[in-house]
């Protein structure tokens, strides 16, 4: 099924999102967006030996918001923290085969949520080290 404006890959990630859910006591957590403007995303990560071992998301939003969240988790899984921080908004959009112009902000949100979760992890790690 193709949707005007949405690539097949966007539709696939939207209809069959990967890594949906929550992680209890995550190593890192990030939440972006607000319900007034439309999209809210949260990401949970578990890190082991500096690698993103587990990642989950929950998203309130349109098809693009859900698809970019799913895509971002798939791209981040197994990467090192540093590699994860380098995943850009543009890469998420590109990886999905593009997004309609008025939906590009969704990919921004997903990358932002990931970065926020990674920074949360780094902050916590810094605190632990003292």
């Amino acid at each position: 099924m193709s949707q005007p404006g949405y690539s097949d890959k966007v539709m696939d990630h939207f209809m069959n999102p990967r890594n949906v859910g929550v992680i209890e006591d995550p190593d890192g957590y990030g939440k972006v967006g607000n319900p007034t403007c439309g999209d809210v995303m949260e990401m949970f990560i578990r890190v082991k030996d500096d690698r993103i071992e587990e990642i989950k998301f929950r998203t309130f939003g349109c098809g693009a918001a859900i698809a970019t969240s799913s895509m971002t988790t798939e791209m981040a899984l197994g990467k090192t923290v540093e590699e994860g921080l380098k995943i850009t908004r543009d890469e998420v959009g590109r990886e999905l085969g593009g997004l309609p112009p008025n939906k590009m902000h969704c990919s921004n949100l997903a990358a932002d949520a990931l970065h926020m979760a990674l920074e949360d992890y780094l902050n916590k790690a810094a605190v632990r080290k003292g």
Partner: protein
């Protein structure tokens, strides 16, 4: 895959009888109604018959019906034509904040021509209050335009009362009846309207054909000049097949109205009863009773309408949403904002508009599809409590 169309406020399928009536006018009866020869005369007769059929649907005189290209053109002609012709008398126009863009955007354009427009608020149920109309009336008010029923939430406006007021104050009264013509009884006399817009493709007729009723004696000018067709009101060679289709659709709608509106009402209530009972944190936007028999507009908390629409589409159910994310401008529906919904509430709206082909079985299937889709999206929603 099973496909169920429940977006009849957007457009309706052409009734087979309508198509059948139209076909000859694409081929062997191709005459121009303005021509004096037999080819022209048979086309003219067909247009006249259609005019009679549309007039009958509205309880108007055939001479008060003008064919247009659809609802948008009818609204443009009524608003611009009446405003411009009467600007010496005054420059104030009253409308509601929940009109279709075909009215709102024309009002905006008229404001640019020096007219002043008052946009009336509506109640939580989407009703224009007659008292608010009365308060808005000024010495220089020349036109009131309030839609008959809203295309998103289905609320039916108290046109008789507004019409009476307009009549007393000698102010012209136009209504956009695109969603009501052929669906509920329309009597332009008892409604007290001076102009009524309708569209063919919303009543199982063709796209590209509509009509404007203009009461005899209303001062209005044409907005499209040319060869003087439609008694000078709308120049341009008549869309004969479209007009024939509109006429036949009007006739069928009138024949079936009583039975069909009752059937719609029962399907609608079956659906809303089930959805509101079985799905938590759901509600109905619009008026509980003063509502089109075919319209439902649900709100579902914690989820977003475009996602819901696409999940339903994947299950073969076609519906619509007022969510900002689904619009080109990423702005929430002006109707849902006007009834006082918070952005987070209007995001989760789903409009179901039933029609002739829908059955109880379809409704039950759609109910399950909605329930499953809402549950799935809530599972992944960041707004879900817990």
């Amino acid at each position: 895959m099973r496909r169920i169309y429940m977006d009849h406020a957007a457009t309706t399928p052409l009734a087979p009888e309508v198509l059948e009536a139209m076909i000859p006018y694409f081929s062997e009866r191709y005459g121009n109604p303005s021509s004096l020869h037999s080819f022209g005369r048979e086309a003219r007769e067909a247009v006249d018959d259609a005019r009679t059929e549309v007039a009958a649907l509205l309880n108007a005189e055939p001479s008060e019906i003008y064919f247009t290209s659809g609802g948008t053109e009818s609204d443009n002609l009524a608003l611009r034509g009446i405003a411009r012709k009467n600007k010496k008398k005054g420059r104030h126009i009253i409308t509601s904040s929940i009109e279709h863009p075909a009215v709102l955007e024309v009002c905006k354009a008229l404001a640019g021509e020096g007219f002043e427009v008052t946009y009336l608020p509506v109640t939580r149920e989407g009703l224009v209050e007659v008292g608010a109309v009365e308060e808005a009336v000024r010495e220089d008010t020349i036109l009131i335009s309030v839609m008959h029923a809203n295309n998103e939430i289905g609320t039916i406006q108290p046109l008789e009362e507004i019409g009476r007021l307009a009549g007393e104050k000698e102010i012209y009264f136009h209504t956009d009846g695109v969603q009501t013509a052929g669906k509920i009884p329309v009597d332009v006399r008892s409604l007290g309207v001076d102009a009524f817009s309708l569209s063919g493709h919303k009543l199982y007729g063709p796209k590209g054909a509509g009509a404007l009723y203009i009461r005899k004696g209303v001062r209005i000018e044409s907005i499209q000049q040319g060869g003087g067709h439609e008694r000078g009101m709308r120049s341009g060679t008549e869309n004969v097949p479209g007009i024939v289709g509109l006429g036949r659709a009007a006739m069928l709608a009138e024949e079936k109205m009583e039975e069909e509106s009752e059937r719609m009402r029962s399907l609608r209530d079956r659906m809303s009863g089930w959805v509101l009972k079985e799905i938590e944190d759901s509600w109905l936007n619009g008026h509980p009773v003063k509502r089109l028999p075919s319209n439902l507009n649900f709100g579902f908390r914690y989820i977003e309408g475009e996602s819901l629409l696409l999940y339903l589409d994947a299950k073969g159910v076609a519906a619509s949403t007022g969510s900002a994310c689904s619009s080109k401008k990423l702005a929430a529906s002006h109707v849902l904002s006007a009834i006082g919904l918070e952005p987070v509430e209007s995001h989760g709206s789903l409009r179901i508009t039933l029609g002739m082909e829908n059955t109880e079985e379809d409704v039950d299937y759609a109910c399950r599809a909605i329930s499953e889709s809402v549950a799935r999206l809530r599972e992944m929603s960041a707004l879900r409590p817990g």
